[in-house]
């Protein structure tokens, strides 16, 4: 079988990836510390429980990125002639399903607590010789769990955009939106302190809805990638103009009468086909080889474009 050549990142992008890997390690370590801190402050609060599960799930994107980045640059081989680029998409799909399921579970759990009118108990603990209401400890833990992703999310977003890492970009977006779930949990805890038994479970339900919506957004994105939807740039929701750019470039070549291009996303890179109607068959193989080289160097995200010549009429 014809095996693809390995994909090679340009040097500056390679350095950016290395920076991103370091950032994601830092992200992973800090997020594990958040999970630990939240665990010790959990108590019987439903809102805290929901927040904690969300913190655990938010380890997934970092872990998956760090795993995938290690394996996806393996050279394509007889067994996997298209290479391993799509690992990213598989990881993304798995993470989104995990989010959806956990969100659903937490929503049901919170609703049961609401319906059964369960009165949450938040007790008192001894800290440094003082009796402190556990609610204050919970809020301190929540503040910690909000500030770190908010700060890291800012750097993640910038770096991920540079290297077209969708998983990290989606993670950064979620981290930056996490302050809302933190605030909801804090209000839930404070509400319990004010004697409103429903505040906690309601906050828990809101947080689960947020987890579900994150899961749904990611799932839609992952399914779109799997279905080879029209490629999009990381930071944008509109389709990328890259296929039209490539087609225009082909049409500008003197031997080309008509051309159209079709692209798909393979993780962080694009591949696809170009269909070309030449003016004549003279020198055709040479022309196609030249054009292929030109297209593949058009943008760093392009992995492999295959050009197919078509006779006479339009390509459709």
């Amino acid at each position: 079988m014809k095996v693809r050549a390995a994909y090679r990142l340009p040097d500056d992008k390679h350095r950016a990836i290395e920076r991103l890997v370091r950032l994601e390690w830092l992200n992973l370590v800090l997020r594990i510390s958040i999970v630990a801190v939240m665990y010790f402050a959990l108590g019987n609060s439903q809102a805290m429980k929901a927040g904690w599960y969300e913190d655990i799930l938010s380890l997934l994107p970092a872990i998956m990125f760090l795993l995938v980045v290690r394996f996806r640059d393996r050279t394509p081989n007889e067994r996997y002639p298209y290479g391993y680029q799509r690992l990213t998409i598989i990881a993304f799909l798995a993470a989104s399903v995990a989010l959806l399921m956990m969100g659903g579970f937490l929503l049901v759990d919170s609703l049961i607590k609401l319906v059964s009118m369960e009165h949450p108990t938040i007790g008192v603990i001894e800290l440094f010789g003082h009796s402190i209401w556990m609610g204050w400890v919970m809020i301190a833990a929540l503040a910690y769990s909000v500030v770190i992703p908010l700060t890291l999310g800012f750097f993640q977003e910038r770096l991920a955009e540079q290297v077209h890492e969708k998983t990290v970009y989606a993670d950064a977006k979620m981290s930056k939106a996490d302050w809302m779930t933190g605030l909801a949990a804090a209000i839930g805890v404070l509400g319990v302190g004010a004697g409103w038994w429903w505040a906690d479970a309601l906050a828990g339900a809101l947080i689960s809805l947020d987890i579900i919506s994150d899961g749904f957004k990611n799932l839609r994105e992952a399914v779109g990638d799997t279905l080879d939807r029209h490629p999009r740039f990381t930071a944008k929701t509109e389709p990328s103009p890259l296929p039209e750019e490539l087609a225009a470039r082909l049409r500008a070549m003197p031997w080309v009468k008509h051309a159209e291009v079709r692209l798909r996303e393979e993780g962080h890179v694009f591949s696809g086909e170009a269909f070309v109607v030449p003016h004549s068959d003279d020198n055709l193989t040479h022309n196609i080889a030249e054009a292929t080289r030109a297209l593949n160097h058009h943008d760093w995200r392009l992995y492999e474009i295959v050009i197919t010549p078509l006779p006479g009429v339009g390509p459709r």
């Binding site: 369960e118 949450p120 108990t121 007790g123 319990v192």
Partner: protein, 247 residues
């Protein structure tokens, strides 16, 4: 810009609730137990379990004294309600009584039904040996015969240590190695071996969601610093007490 605004919103929300908080006592009860008990009646469910709760009219014991102190601090009268632990816990779940005592120990099944205080006493249980002339406790429990009360929770850990477990009914046999809480073994004049087979974590139970009431009980328990002396007194006053049999 978004993150800046978000952070400010978070601080504003915290600040607002901080300001409201101390003004109206924080945390508060969902069902207002503390307000009702203060200057009124404290309904306490009691299960016999010496030396924590000793049957009598009025009841006595370490936890009975603690409950009296809490009531006194609130200027409240105490009504005692005798019952099996399962009955009392069910009544507490439905907020018919305010407090359940009787040598309760921390366990996850109880936490599902009611709110437990943090353990106010963590009492190690192990093995005590008769203090003979020049006799020291053995190095390990392997092959040792240990007598334990029929109702005990040390049989499994003792088996694990290789000890031969002999249950007794009635008063403990003299001149034998006994298993039990360290304080109880000491009160019987035994030399306590270095093993901690179980730690008995003693708690009290209040209704769920009564966070002000729970906090008050907890603060009182945290303030008790003479528990060993109380236990020693209690075990002298009620010599049948076997220490922490609550199930």
């Amino acid at each position: 810009m978004v993150t800046h605004g978000a952070r400010r919103l978070l601080w504003l929300a915290c600040l607002a609730l901080l300001l409201v908080g101390p003004g109206c006592r924080y945390p508060r009860d969902v069902e207002g137990t503390l307000d009702r008990v203060r200057g009124g009646v404290l309904h306490v469910g009691v299960t016999e379990n010496p030396p924590w709760v000793v049957r009598g009219d009025p009841p006595a014991g370490v936890e009975v004294d603690l409950a009296r102190e809490i009531a006194a601090a609130l200027d409240a009268r105490v009504r005692w309600h005798w019952g099996a632990q399962s009955e009392l816990i069910a009544a507490l779940e439905q907020r018919q009584i305010d407090l359940v005592i009787g040598g309760l120990r921390d366990n996850p099944a109880l936490t599902k039904q009611v709110a437990l205080t943090k353990p106010y006493a963590k009492l190690p249980a192990g093995v005590g040996f008769p203090a003979g002339a020049g006799k020291a406790p053995p190095d390990n429990l392997d092959g040792q015969t240990v007598h334990v009360p029929r109702v005990n929770h040390l049989a499994d850990p003792l088996h694990d240590e290789g000890a031969r477990v002999v249950p007794f009914d009635g008063p403990p046999p003299t001149g034998q190695a006994l298993g039990g809480a360290h304080w109880w073994l000491r009160a019987r004049g035994l030399t306590v071996g270095p093993w901690v087979l179980r730690t008995e974590r003693h708690v009290m139970a209040v209704p769920k969601g009564e966070n002000a009431w729970l906090a008050l009980v907890q603060r009182h328990l945290n303030g008790v610093d003479d528990l060993p002396a109380r236990l020693a007194d209690a075990s002298r006053a009620y010599p049948d007490g076997q220490g922490g049999e609550s199930q």
